[in-house]
């Protein structure tokens, strides 16, 4: 296989991983206000994603794959809302450990990495096409 074809396949794996990362971020963002239903329930727990390197035997190069989608074990936040059905005896409700600012930066980073990989794909395609066009 041509090296440029390989590089666009590798970049495709990067795009796939970043797309999954954006999905996890959107889960966290969407559930930022998912409160528990009763006082002994827990609210939504933030999810995290990690990647790992995988050697692809077909092309003989390191690709990226999603290693694990885990949960963030940090403390839940508290909000004073005595009328809420999940409020404890002192009137506090547990809220998800999602910080929208962190999620926003995570999404921005994933977006940039995805675009970088997209550029790798388009540059390798352009180079291959131009090389073949030399025959014409």
């Amino acid at each position: 296989m041509d090296d440029l074809t390989k590089s666009s396949l590798i970049a495709t794996s990067g795009m796939k991983a970043q797309a999954e990362r954006i999905r996890v971020v959107s889960e966290n963002m969407a559930n930022a206000d998912s409160l528990p239903a009763s006082p002994d329930d827990t609210p939504y727990r933030r999810k995290t994603i990690s990647f790992r390197t995988v050697l692809d035997n077909n092309i003989g190069a390191d690709m990226v794959k999603v290693k694990k989608i885990d949960v963030d074990r940090s403390e839940f936040q508290k909000k004073y809302d005595p009328k809420h059905p999940a409020a404890d005896s002192s009137g506090y409700v547990l809220t998800p450990n999602v910080n929208p600012l962190i999620e926003l930066m995570d999404m921005r980073e994933a977006n940039r990495t995805y675009e970088a990989n997209l550029n790798v794909v388009s540059v390798s395609k352009q180079l291959l096409t131009n090389t073949v066009n030399m025959l014409k």
């Binding site: 666009s8 495709t12 795009m15 796939k16 794909v121 395609k125 096409t129 073949v132 066009n133 025959l135």
Partner: protein
């Protein structure tokens, strides 16, 4: 590799034929085209045949991925990669064919 003589040009075409993995020696045109000096299966017809086969194979993979995508099973990025690959393989085969046919025509029109 500087191509300066007819011999080296012929060698370049032979190398192109080999790069497509030409291995079928029973193809049409073998011998009739005066390819005695070339290794078996390295003639233009089998080169083209193998090139077209790989293009068809790449096209089939692209179609399979598109079908999967329509069924919601495939990743969009993989579809794009497969279709791009098919397009490029076909372009390469067509370009090589045009080039060799052009050379053949040039020889045909050569005033003797």
């Amino acid at each position: 590799m500087p191509i300066t003589t007819i011999n080296s040009a012929i060698q370049a075409y032979t190398a192109a034929a080999k790069s497509f993995g030409a291995a079928d020696s029973s193809s049409i045109g073998n011998g009739a085209m005066g390819t005695d000096a070339l290794p078996a299966g390295a003639d233009f017809a089998s080169m083209l045949k193998d090139g077209v086969h790989s293009a068809i194979e790449a096209g089939r993979q692209g179609e399979q991925m598109s079908e999967k995508a329509l069924a919601g099973k495939a990743d969009v990025r993989e579809v794009v990669a497969a279709v791009n690959n098919a397009e490029l393989t076909l372009q390469t085969v067509v370009a090589v064919r045009d080039k060799v046919i052009g050379a053949y025509n040039d020889i045909l029109k050569m005033p003797i």
